[in-house]
Symmetry: C2
Subunit: 484 residues, 2 copies
């Protein structure tokens, strides 16, 4: 029961303040190190260094998958049957408290975060010091929790630093070895958009958007980490068996379909409800939606620390392995986003749609000035990555928990919208997901409400997410049962 309360409190604390960064009086015997200390320390770093809106799922997911992998491996020896993915040890006698597990989890996290964010050493050191652990303890003695944690983390790092993501920047743009000026995460597949940000010569294909901070500096998007399609998955060998059907309505030669799906996005924009706006924002932030749903599930299902770690690794891995296949399909189809198609079809003719923050629905929006409610992400449109992640995550969670209950009520105070601050919602309200099924369905549809996807991209993403979510569940269960 204390885990239930603790986890809920931690989730609330996370939502209300992401910058706490320090734990006070962490209880190793009864506490949950991931929920109480580690996640609150990592999130601000990712928000600041990687993805200010937590919307850049590929980079966020690889961070969370590697660190939850390290937790899983670090405490597998304390489980009766589990074996780690990259580290295997004999099983320990079950401990009366979670103290040793929490210690192992801290050291495992420390090793992984050192690798992922070496410029943030002061933060990782402070995290360890804040709970009375010595960050300089490099022990690899498998008979101690410190050693188990360090070994688990080091092995994740060793196996993942060169997993195809180019984390170290040691692959140059042309695929050769980068001897100088290494650029972490640089594309080496040679992806080039077919369209420039200035001309839509290929109206079926992706066009990078021009983005601005609002104060005069403009940049053009670049497809984020196209090489994710080449990254080694956990739960299957080769993403080439996963295929999304061709997005026929994105082919400009199919003019009726091309116009029809663009009109569907405009209709969604023109009819945006307050609930849809809030859900679109919620699912755009991968921490608030995907990340905290595992904490919510831990509370509802009163999960032990061990079970929480198993669930959290499972759902992150499910979405991460899905992302690899989705990136292959995004790269292959290279499909146009709604903002490009709408401008292409209607030019400067007026369309009816959401008119901008506080403007409601307007009927004289020049199509080439149209903007989606959510900011458009920096990758081709089809299939929807978010829809696929939510589907994989929800399916894996349902399988693991044995039920569909999510029972999640998220309060949104008046005016706390990100896009329409001070205006939306008009009064204090909440968004509710009673089941994982509702969660994944709203997640998918919210990408159309937000104006960043055509309708066809949603089921296409969900189908691959469900396939891979099931594989991820099998993979993790095999490791829990000791039969990988």
């Amino acid at each position: 029961m204390h885990i239930l309360r603790r986890t809920r409190q931690a989730a609330i604390a996370l939502v209300s303040t992401l910058a706490m960064g320090q734990a006070h009086s962490f209880d190793f015997d009864t506490g949950n190190a991931p929920a109480e200390v580690i996640i609150p320390t990592i999130i601000p770093v990712i928000l600041e260094d990687v993805s200010p809106g937590a919307s850049d799922a590929t980079l966020v997911l690889r961070n969370t998958t590697l660190v939850t992998n390290a937790w899983f491996d670090a405490i597998a020896p304390y489980h009766p049957t589990a074996v780690g993915v990259y580290t295997q040890h004999a099983h320990r006698l079950s401990e009366p408290t979670d103290s040793e597990k929490n210690t192992a989890i801290f050291y495992a996290s420390y090793q992984v975060m050192k690798s992922l964010h070496p410029n943030r050493m002061a933060t990782w050191d402070a995290m360890m010091n804040s709970v009375g652990l010595d960050p300089a303890d490099n022990s690899t003695d498998p008979n101690t929790p410190v050693g188990l944690g360090n070994l688990a983390g080091m092995n994740v790092v060793m196996n993942r630093e060169n997993d195809g993501m180019n984390q170290l920047g040691n692959i140059a743009a042309d695929g050769s070895t980068a001897t100088y000026h290494r650029v972490p995460y640089r594309d080496y597949t040679g992806y080039k958009p077919k369209n420039t940000a200035y001309d839509l010569k290929h109206p079926s294909r992706w066009q990078p958007a021009i983005v601005s901070s609002g104060n005069g500096l403009f940049k053009v998007q670049q497809f984020v980490t196209p090489q994710l399609k080449n990254v080694t998955p956990y739960s299957y060998n080769n993403p080439q068996k996963f295929h999304a059907p061709k997005p026929w309505n994105s082919f400009v030669q199919n003019w009726g379909g091309y116009v029809g799906q663009a009109q569907a996005v405009l209709d969604a924009s023109a009819n945006l409800t307050e609930q849809q706006k809030l859900k679109a924002e919620f699912f755009d932030n991968k921490f608030r939606s995907l990340g905290f749903s595992a904490l919510q599930a831990a509370g509802v299902n009163q999960l032990s620390l061990m079970d929480f770690v198993h669930l959290d690794f499972l759902v992150n891995l499910a979405a991460f392995d899905t992302a690899i296949a989705i990136w292959q399909e995004k790269y292959r189809h290279d499909a146009v986003r709604p903002f490009s198609a709408i401008a292409h079809i209607w030019g400067d003719s007026p369309v009816t749609s959401w008119g901008g923050p506080g403007m409601g629905t307007v009927n004289d929006m020049p199509a080439n000035q149209w903007k989606s409610y959510m900011n458009v992400a920096d990758h081709p449109e089809y299939p929807s990555a978010s829809a696929s992640f939510c589907a994989a995550h929800a399916l894996a969670a349902r399988e693991f928990l044995g039920n569909d209950n999510l029972l999640w009520h998220i309060p949104i105070p008046a005016g706390h919208s990100v896009v329409e601050p001070g205006l939306t919602p008009a009064a204090d309200t909440e968004i509710v997901f009673n089941t994982w099924t509702e969660f994944e369905q709203d997640c998918g549809e919210s990408r159309v409400w937000g104006g960043v996807h055509f309708p066809d991209a949603v089921p296409a993403g969900q189908a691959i997410g469900h396939e891979i979510g099931a594989l991820a569940y099998d993979f993790v269960m095999d490791h829990i049962q000791g039969t990988p």
Copy 2:
């Protein structure tokens, strides 16, 4: 003498901490509001909202020119002969102290900053409150310093909000009126780079660079505010009378010249001295170099508050008016940057150059992995904007001050390099500019040392800077003498 000390102290405080934001016990009678309070308040906002490295000169210069314009106009009535640019009033009797001038300057600044950075109202309100002024005092009574300040600031805003820079975003990308989703400072000239970031099809022309924060998100540069060429200048009517000669060495058809100037940049890179590295960094930061040089001059020449405001408006205006003509020429020549030409000429063959932070000079750098010591700015190469600004600024300062003395010693503690932190300089050192002439010469050459310009771009920029610096001096002197 107290102004001298104060101004020097303020300059030191600014260099050492840019985030103070609050003045303590500002003395209206003897203080210098710009140096002690206003500049330290504005700089952190610009660094955070506009230009993290203060290298985006077009946006920074328009901010500083508009606010110094407002100071000039606000206190012109306290000068025996001066008249403002946008506000003209009868002259007041000379005051025994600077109290009224400082008050007028605060209100003038407040009006301008409200317009330039409306999302920072809390900062501007706090600035006023910190010195005991009421930010809500909207008086426009020209018989009071509050009214003179407000009127001066409001008139600058009224005359400059639609000066061609598209500050309000009310011009759409195609030049029509933007009815919805206004994007401040958006280009409306239709500039499109001839090259993509991925292919150099036109080796004589500018190629946007791919830039990264280092943690996985990449973007492609967009020419910053091409519309600056259309902005209304202060000191001349039409920039079309200013012309830089064609950059023949950037024409790939002139292969010998094309290779020769690229080799010159490589040679500079291979022979970088510690002093050159530090000066390249210094001149890249427009606050540290251009901005603080006026404070230095105020100290050396023991300028009164009135004279400091005249000098500061003059040097900012000189650089701003120069930027308009330089942007016209950058737009017209649209010339290739060194990083593109070096990769184009030598491909993956090894070149000898600086090898990256702490690497010194290496002789096996694949040319297509070459990187300049300074980050390359987001606009075409020719002419050098920095060289032109320093030339205009230095010439105007020399004319105004009647001498060439700068006598500026800037201490650089060991390891305080931006590019090579912890390594450069090896020991505490200083960079020295005894004269404005040295300042502008080193400024120009530092763009070649930094690897972001070919040699020809430097004199081309300086020539236009000198022409316009002289016009700016005439313009400001005419306003000081009351004969505009």
